[in-house]
Structure formats: C-alpha cells, structure tokens
C-alpha cells in the first residue's frame, strides 16, 4: 500500500487526470449527504441536542412549568449528600446488572453448549429456548409474579413437595431482586441464539485434534470453546451490562403487581415495592423527573447514568473496532 502511494506520488502532476474529477466529487458528496440526511437530523435533534440540554438542566432548578433557573452544583451536591434513596437505587441497579449479566452469560453458554452437541432436534430445542425471550417484558413480569406467588404459585407448591417452605419472592425485600434475576434467565434466549451461532463456527478439527491429544471435555471447553468465541462473549457481557443499567420495565411492573396497589403501575406509591428493594436508578430518575417534577435534579442523575453507560459503551466500541466491524469485509 505504502509503496503504491509513493509511486503514485512520484507521477508528475501534469499527468494526473484532475480537471473533470472536481464536479464528480461534489456530486458524490451530495449523494452521501442526501442518503445520510435523515440520520444527521435525527442525531442532532434526538441525541446531540438532548445531551447538551440535559447537561444544562442539571445545573438548574426546573419544574417543567416555569423556565429553568440557574442552581450551580446544587443538584449534584444534593445527590451526593442528601438523597435518601439514591444510593439504594444505585445498589439495586448494580446488583441486578451483575446478577443478570453473570446469570445470562453463564446460563446462555451452558444452554448453547447443550444445543450444539445435540445432533438432531437442535433447531427445535433452540426454538423452545428462544420463545420466552419474545414475551413482552410487561407480560413476562405479570407471569412471574403469578408463578412466584408465595401462597398459590406453582413454584412454591413444587418446593413444598420436597418439604421446602418457599420464600415470599416478589413480596420479600430480600427475594424480590433474585426473582427478577430468575426472570432474566427465562428470557435469555437471545444470548443463547448468539452463542449457538458462534459455537457452530468453531472448526470441528480443533476438537478432533484436542481429543486425539487426550484433552478432557472440560479442558476442551476452556482451551478451545471459550477462546474461540471470546469476541462474542465480550459483546454479550458488555451489552448485557448496558442493558442492566437501563433496567426499568420488569421492576416497575413486578413491583406494582406484587404490591397489590390499586394505583396505576409506575406511580410513586408502588415503585420499588417491597421496601424500595426493586427501585433501580432509572426508575428513581423517572420518578424524580415525571412525578416529582424535579427535572433539574433528574437531569443530574441522567448525566451520571450517561457517564457510567458511556464508559461501557467505549469499551464495547473499542472491542468492535479491534474486531474490524467498521471496515469492509
């Protein structure tokens, strides 16, 4: 490449076919601009502007009715010193993010390894494993509150067969988050499909050679399977973390339904039930902004979420870059 460029550079300027090119170049630029225009508008109006506006609001008092008034760092100092529920909501989000990421990746990998070893019926089983991932999150949450109902739900009945007194699940502050994590496993079909596809790409000869060398199944898994699919593993882990940071719907709905509240789901009265144990950071942000109308304070929270998810986004984009996703194939 460099040699070629040098050679091209060595050609005397007079011999280069320049004059006609100028107009064509402009036409090409205009074509690109025309094709990209929807996105350029979208990026500006629905991403760049709101990001800047959020930063601005975060330094103001703003209740949506009156114009924002400057408040300096007040929102940030309040967040760090006086918000009684902030740290709890951060703790809940971190707990759920870790539990769901670890659970989904580990379980997804196990399920995919099982599927890849089935010679017949892998397609059928894959379909069965994937179906719950399609369930609308609201519907899945309702289903799980019912299934994990402490008194009449089938899970506690099943446990009773073995003489185990099942927990109160969504009604117990210590079990509400684990219940959400179990639901996260149930809907892990997407991860399974992605892992299965990449496992199918691992060349069979690698395993053949390894078993000739006397490697056990366990060794093969750690020495061949995991390294071969590590790009996909990283993608799944980081992607799952980013999704975990946004955790909202399932916690709102499960909390509202389990509480037995007669208020509409997501209202201030039933979010975080029981005892704020399912109150995630985005839920607290939502409540502050759209129920309490502390828009300035909620914007400061949004900036925190922006920075944290930004860090993971950069990790993922770097990972994708080193895998060459932005280049042509």
């Amino acid at each position: 490449m460099t040699v070629l460029e040098q050679r091209r550079g060595a050609v005397p300027p007079a011999l280069r076919p320049v004059p006609r090119r100028g107009r064509e170049k402009w036409r090409n630029r205009l074509t690109v601009l025309a094709f990209m225009s929807p996105w350029l508008v979208g990026l500006t109006v629905f991403f760049v502007y709101p990001a800047i506006a959020t930063l601005f609001y975060s330094f103001t008092n703003f209740d949506l009715i009156d114009d924002p008034t400057w408040a300096g760092l007040k929102n940030y100092t309040f967040m760090l010193s006086s918000d009684p529920l902030l740290w709890q909501s951060i703790g809940n989000t971190v707990w759920l993010t870790i539990a769901i990421t670890v659970g989904r990746v580990a379980f997804g990998l196990i399920a995919a390894v099982v599927l890849v070893r089935l010679r017949r019926g892998a397609g059928l089983f894959r379909t069965l494993f994937y179906i719950p991932a399609l369930a609308p999150p609201v519907a899945a949450s309702l289903a799980f509150v019912f299934i994990l109902n402490p008194a009449t739900g089938p899970v506690n009945q099943f446990l009773q067969l073995f003489g185990i007194q099942g927990p109160l699940w969504f009604n117990d502050p210590n079990f509400a988050k684990p219940s959400l994590a179990v639901m996260g496993l149930w809907t892990s079909g997407t991860v399974i499909v992605i892992f299965l596809a990449s496992l199918l790409d691992v060349p069979g000869e690698l395993y053949e050679a390894a078993s000739l060398d006397g490697a056990s199944g366990w060794q093969q898994f750690w020495r061949i399977t995991v390294p071969s699919i590590s790009p996909v593993l990283t993608f799944a882990i980081v992607n799952s973390i980013i999704i975990g940071l946004q955790y909202f719907t399932e916690a709102v709905v499960a909390g509202a339904v389990a509480s037995g509240s007669s208020q509409v789901a997501g209202s201030s009265q039933n979010i975080g039930y029981p005892d704020n144990s399912t109150l995630t950071f985005p839920m607290w942000l939502y409540d502050q902004a759209f129920h309490q109308f502390h828009m300035g304070y909620a914007s400061a929270m949004a900036i925190v979420l922006f920075i944290v998810s930004g860090v993971f986004t950069v990790v993922l984009v770097r990972r994708l870059r080193s895998a060459g996703i932005g280049e042509e194939e």
Binding site: A51, A135, I194, Q246, T249
Partner: protein, 291 residues
C-alpha cells in the same frame, strides 16, 4: 433449521467407549428436555390459569376444573383491550414503516458508499444505539410538551422518520456482506445511487431489511417506558404494555382475567415468530456475532 455441528471424534470403538457415548447422549437429552420444560412451564401455567374460574385461580390448583374459554372475551369487557391493541398496532406499524423509509438509505450510505468519516459515523450509530433512553428523555419530553403532543403516541412514532440506530446498524451489517461487484457493475452501466439502492441492494438485502422490520415492530410492541412516559396520563392512548401493566390494579382478585390478558398480549408476538422464525434468528445472529 440449522443442523448441529458435527464433532468427529475418532477414538477406538470399544464397548466401553460406546457405552459412555450412549450415557453422554442420554445425559445431554435429559438436560435439553429439562431446559425446555423450564422454558415452557411458565407459559403453560399462565394459559391454564387463564382458563380457570376466578375462584379457582386463587387456589393452588394447576388444572382447570372447567374450561372457561369465555375469559378471553371477558377481558375485552374488563378493560378497553381492543383500544390498547389498536394503539399498539398504530405505534408498531407506523414506526416500522417510517424506520424503513429513513434507515435503509442511511444503512446504504454506511455500507456501500465510500466517503471520509463513514467509519466514525458508524460508531456514532452504535453509541446512540447503546444509550439508555432515560438519559435524554427529559429534554425530548420538554420538546414534545412545547409542541403539545405529550399524551399521544406521536413522540414515539415521529423520531423513526429520522433513522433508528439499531435498525441502521443491523441493515448495515447485512448490506456490507453483499459483494461490491454487484453495485459496481450497475454503476458502470450508468445507474444512479438511488437506482442501485432500489434495484440491487434492497432486493439482495431483503433478509436484513425483514429482520430490521421485525425487530422494529417488536420493540415498539413490547415498549413500556416510552408509552408510559408519553401516554401515562391519557388512558385513551395507552398501548397494550401500559394497559396490561395496570390491568391487575383494577382486577386484583381476578387472576384468571389478568392471565388471559397476559396470554393475549404475548400471542401476536409468538405467532409472528412462527411465521418469520428464520428472519428472527438470522437477525439476532447478525446483531451479535458479526462483531
């Protein structure tokens, strides 16, 4: 359907070896069946409960004593489910159509046209795709409030006119696998870029476009945060997700109806999946693996 990978293991075929292979085969299938039961049991439970009387649904029974198929009709009387359904449909269909109109050209420019800054712009799409919606919700809400459109679904539909990051990403990943020679030869024949897009890339990129359309539809159909934020105060514009989430608050003791409503909300998505299974699976693979 994809056949599982063949892992040729050519070890000596002794009796012991064959026995251990058989045990492994049995073990594997036991695990696969156990997983399938775990995945399907919740759906079976809610369907069975949806068919019970309201009294029986409050007991420990798993099997309906009488099959109350009328529950599914009763749900429509218990809540304006049909209205919610139509709202969901409006949101999902319009979003998908507008997304396709705006995002196909962008995906084309990001995969088939050569220009400086293309790669940077592509990473910009990925960053936007990964951004939590709550981060930028406030100024966008304020914007729609100024336009007097809060309380409607338009704030969720209109942005699709300006490209959807995930759809652009997905279709770009498909388009880039279409050999450059096809568009090049069309270009030599004097076709404009728009003609190349319409006659070469769209027909050849159909699986990718179909997958993007499916996921766009599904995302809108399943969305809860968006409709809650914009239509929460205006029940006439609730979607199925919002309506279902609050169904139980009014029908506390009628678990049978709550579960019937849950089944009805899940059903269209599962039916859609059975008709377009291949596009779904291909789409997921492309969004995850080719990275």
């Amino acid at each position: 359907m994809t056949a599982a990978v063949q892992i040729p293991v050519r070890a000596p075929r002794t009796k012991d070896y064959r026995r251990s292979r058989l045990l492994a085969w049995i073990g594997l299938h036991v695990v696969a069946v156990a997983f399938s039961i775990a995945f399907l049991a919740p759906i079976v439970f809610i369907v069975l409960t949806a068919l019970m009387t309201d009294k029986q649904a409050l007991t420990q029974d798993l099997w309906p004593r009488t099959w109350e198929w009328s529950n599914f009709a009763a749900v429509f009387k218990a809540a304006p489910l049909l209205q919610y359904f139509l709202n969901s449909l409006l949101y999902a269909v319009l979003s998908t159509v507008l997304m396709l109109l705006s995002s196909i050209p962008v995906a084309y420019a990001l995969s088939k046209l050569k220009w400086r800054g293309r790669e940077v712009m592509f990473y910009g799409v990925i960053v936007t795709m990964l951004l939590p919606p709550q981060v930028i919700a406030i100024p966008i809400y304020v914007l729609w409030a100024h336009l007097g459109l809060t309380g409607t679904l338009w704030p969720l539909i209109v942005p699709n006119l300006f490209g959807d990051a995930f759809s652009i990403f997905l279709m770009r990943q498909f388009f880039i696998t279409i050999p450059q020679s096809y568009s090049d030869s069309a270009r030599v024949d004097g076709a404009s870029e728009l003609q190349i897009l319409r006659r070469v890339i769209v027909p050849m990129g159909k699986p990718g476009i179909a997958a993007a359309a499916l996921f766009s539809f599904l995302n809108a159909w399943n969305d809860y945060f968006g409709p809650l934020l914009y239509t929460g105060e205006n029940q006439a514009n609730w979607t199925l997700s919002v309506g279902l989430a609050s169904f139980h608050s009014v029908h506390q003791v009628e678990w049978n109806l709550t579960m019937a409503a849950t089944v009805l909300v899940m059903l269209p998505v599962i039916v859609l999946f059975f008709f377009a299974q291949k596009q779904f699976i291909e789409g997921i693979k492309f969004s995850g693996v080719k990275g």
